[in-house]
C-alpha cells in the first residue's frame, strides 16, 4: 500500500545532520564533537527526586500546564536569574522539552501564509516547525562580521519588517553567539514599530562566559506583551532525556498553546516534572560547576583551533564553537572528509541555515581528552591536505 503523505510533511527534507549521524554510527573509532547535549549526567538530587516520585507511584497525568508547584518554582527562578516576571497560573506552561513549546507556539500563532522570520544559523527545528504549521519561512542571515548577532539591518535586508513572527535562539546553537542588552534594544524598537511577535529561545541562557550574563528581550520596555520565551532543563541541568521545557508569555498565547498541548501531549512527563522541581530548588551549584567546566573547554578549543590555523568565532555562549572551513572546501565536504579520514564528527554549518555555510558546528560538550585528541586529528587532517 502507498500512502498519500501530507504535502507539508513531504515538503520538509530529512534533517541534514542525519547523514553524518549514520556515517559516525558505522565506525567505532569516532570522536564526536557533533553532540548537541551535555556530557554530564543529570545532577543526583534531580535524579533522586525522579526516582522517589516513581517509588511513591506518582505516575499519573498532571495539570495540563504542569504541576502548579513546578510552575511556581519556574516563576521564581526566571525572576531571580533573568528578571522575568510571569504568573504561574496563566503565563507559564511546562512542556515535553523546549522543542514542544516552540512547536506549540508556531501552531498557536501561525496562520497559513503567515511569514516567520528566523535568525540563522539556528537550531534545525524552527524551519520545519513553521512549515508544519503552514507558515512561510523568511531566513534572516547573521554573519561573523556582526559576531553572529541579529541586527535590525539584517532583518530589514531580509525583508522581515512585514513578517508576523521573529524567531531566534541566543545564546545560539550553532554559533555560540550571544546578544547583549545593547544589541537587543534596537531589535526591540524595530519589533514594536512593526508590530511583530518575538519567539525567543533561551534554552542556553545559563551558559554564558567571560563575565557575560543573559538578558531576555522580554525584560525590555514594551516587549513582555509581545514575546514568548522558551527555556528548559535539557542544557544547563543536563536533563535532555527527561524532556522538560517551558514557555513564558502573555496569558492569551500560553492559553492557546495549552489548548493544543491538552489535546496532544496532555501534560509533560510527570517524573521529569519532579526532577525539574528539584533541579530548580537545589541544583544551582551543579549548574555552576558544569558552566565552569564548559568555560575551560571553550577556552581550550578556541585556542587550539587558532593554533592549528583555523579561524574560529569567539563564542561566548552555549557549548558550541563555529570555526571557519579552510578555503577550497564546502562545509559539508570538510565535515565528511574529516569524518572519513580522521574519525572526527562535526556538523557542517549550512545544516543550520543561512549564514552557516563555510563553518562547522563543533560541540565541546565532551571530555577534554577527547577534545584534545579530536583537535590533534584535525591538525593532522589539515597537514595531509596542505
Amino acid at each position: 500500500m502507498t500512502f498519500e503523505l501530507a504535502d507539508r510533511v513531504q515538503s520538509v527534507p530529512p534533517s541534514g545532520i542525519r547523514r553524518f549521524f549514520e556515517i559516525a554510527e558505522e565506525r567505532d573509532d569516532v570522536i564526536s564533537l557533533g553532540v548537541g547535549e551535555p556530557d554530564f549526567a543529570t545532577p543526583w538530587a534531580a535524579r533522586d527526586a525522579a526516582i522517589t516520585s516513581l517509588e511513591q507511584g506518582k505516575t499519573s497525568y498532571t495539570a495540563n500546564r504542569g504541576k502548579r508547584e513546578l510552575r511556581e518554582a519556574i516563576s521564581d527562578y526566571v525572576a531571580d536569574r533573568f528578571d522575568l516576571g510571569y504568573d504561574p497560573d496563566e503565563e507559564i506552561i511546562a512542556t515535553a522539552g523546549a522543542s514542544e513549546a516552540v512547536d506549540l507556539a508556531f501552531r498557536a500563532l501561525v496562520n497559513p501564509g503567515d511569514t516567520v522570520a528566523i535568525a540563522q544559523p539556528s537550531y534545525i527545528s524552527y524551519e520545519p516547525g513553521v512549515t508544519f504549521a503552514g507558515g512561510e519561512v523568511l531566513p534572516v542571515p547573521t554573519t561573523e562580521e556582526n559576531d553572529f548577532r541579529l541586527t535590525v539591518d539584517a532583518i530589514e535586508q531580509a525583508g522581515a519588517s512585514e513578517a508576523d513572527l521573529l524567531v531566534y535562539c541566543y545564546p545560539n546553537n550553532p554559533t555560540g553567539a550571544i546578544m547583549r542588552e545593547s544589541d537587543l534594544e534596537p531589535i526591540a524598537e524595530f519589533v514594536r514599530e512593526h508590530d511583530l511577535t518575538v519567539l525567543a529561545d533561551e534554552i542556553y541562557a545559563e551558559l554564558t562566559y567571560d563575565g557575560h550574563t543573559h538578558t531576555s528581550i522580554a525584560t525590555l520596555p514594551g516587549m513582555r506583551e509581545r514575546t514568548i520565551v522558551f527555556n528548559g532543563f535539557s542544557k544547563a541541568h543536563a536533563m535532555t532525556g527527561l524532556r522538560l521545557g517551558y514557555a513564558l508569555g502573555p496569558a492569551e498565547v500560553i492559553g492557546a498553546m495549552n489548548k493544543i498541548h491538552q489535546y496532544t501531549m496532555l501534560s509533560a512527563p510527570t517524573t521529569a516534572q519532579y526532577a525539574a522541581l528539584e533541579a530548580l530548588e537545589s541544583c544551582e551549584n551543579d549548574v555552576q560547576e558544569m558552566v565552569a567546566e564548559y568555560d575551560r573547554r571553550r577556552k581550550f578549543i578556541l585556542s587550539r583551533f587558532r593554533e592549528i590555523g583555523m579561524d574560529v568565532f569567539d563564542a561566548k555562549g552555549a557549548f558550541y564553537c563555529f570555526p571557519e572551513v579552510p578555503e577550497g572546501w564546502t562545509a559539508e565536504e570538510f565535515a565528511q572528509d574529516v569524518l572519513t579520514e580522521q574519525g572526527v564528527a562535526v556538523v557542517p554549518g549550512d545544516v543550520f541555515g543561512a549564514g552557516g555555510e563555510g563553518h562547522l558546528r563543533v560541540s565541546y560538550a565532551t571530555g577534554l581528552e577527547d577534545i584534545r585528541e579530536a583537535l590533534t586529528r584535525l591538525e593532522a587532517f589539515l597537514a595531509d591536505h596542505e
Binding site: S15, I17, F20, F21, A24, E25, V30, S32, G34, V35, G36, E37, D39, Y123, I124, S125, N173, R296, R297, K299, F300, S303, R304, A345, V347, T366, G367, R372
Partner: protein, 161 residues
C-alpha cells in the same frame, strides 16, 4: 585567582602540559610556569603521582585503612606520634581526624601477611597507641576524585541537533 585555577587543573590532571593549562586559563605559558614554580616552592604542591586502579593489575596489592587511638602524655603530642608513623614507607597517608578514633592511617603492602605484620610489629607497639582497628580495602571505586572501573559509557547519539 589564576594560581588557584592552575592548582585546580593540576589536581584534575597533573599531566596537563603548561600549554594546555595556558589555553584553559587565558594565561601565558610563562605565567603558568611561574605559578607552578611558586606553588611548588611554597610547598602547596607537594608532589605528583599516578592514580592507579590496582584491581586492573594481576600483581596483588593490599591496602588497609587503620583506625588508631592514642594516649597522650605531657611530653608527647599528636605531632610526635604522626612524625614517627609517617616515616614508615608502608604508610601512604596519615590524618588526624575527629570522632571515635584519633588517626586515620592508610597502609600498603604486597600481601595481607605483610600488612598485618607491619601493623602488629611496628604500629601497635608504639607506646602511645592504645588501639588499632584494621579495615582491608576490598575494592576501590574512587581515588583522588577519579572514578575507577571501566570508564564512562557515553551512550549519547554521536551527532545530535
Amino acid at each position: 585567582m589564576s594560581e588557584r585555577e592552575v592548582l585546580e587543573l593540576l589536581r584534575e590532571n597533573a599531566r596537563y602540559s603548561t600549554a594546555d593549562i595556558a589555553r584553559m586559563t587565558d594565561l601565558d605559558e610563562s605565567e603558568v610556569d611561574r605559578a607552578i614554580e611558586e606553588l611548588e616552592a611554597a610547598g602547596v604542591v607537594c608532589g605528583y603521582q599516578a592514580v592507579v586502579d590496582w584491581d586492573k593489575l594481576e600483581d596483588e596489592r593490599v591496602r588497609a585503612e587503620v583506625e588508631l587511638n592514642v594516649h597522650l602524655d605531657r611530653e608527647t603530642g599528636y605531632g610526635d606520634i604522626a612524625e614517627r608513623l609517617a616515616r614508615f614507607p608502608q604508610v601512604t597517608a596519615l590524618r588526624l581526624v575527629s570522632g571515635d578514633y584519633d588517626f586515620d592511617m592508610e597502609v600498603e603492602g604486597d600481601s595481607i601477611r605483610e600488612v598485618s605484620q607491619f601493623i602488629s610489629e611496628k604500629v601497635a607497639p608504639v607506646p602511645e597507641i592504645t588501639q588499632t582497628v584494621t579495615h582491608y580495602v576490598m575494592t576501590s571505586y574512587k581515588e583522588n576524585g577519579i572514578e575507577l572501573g571501566d570508564g564512562d559509557e557515553d551512550d549519547r547519539l554521536s551527532v545530535s541537533p
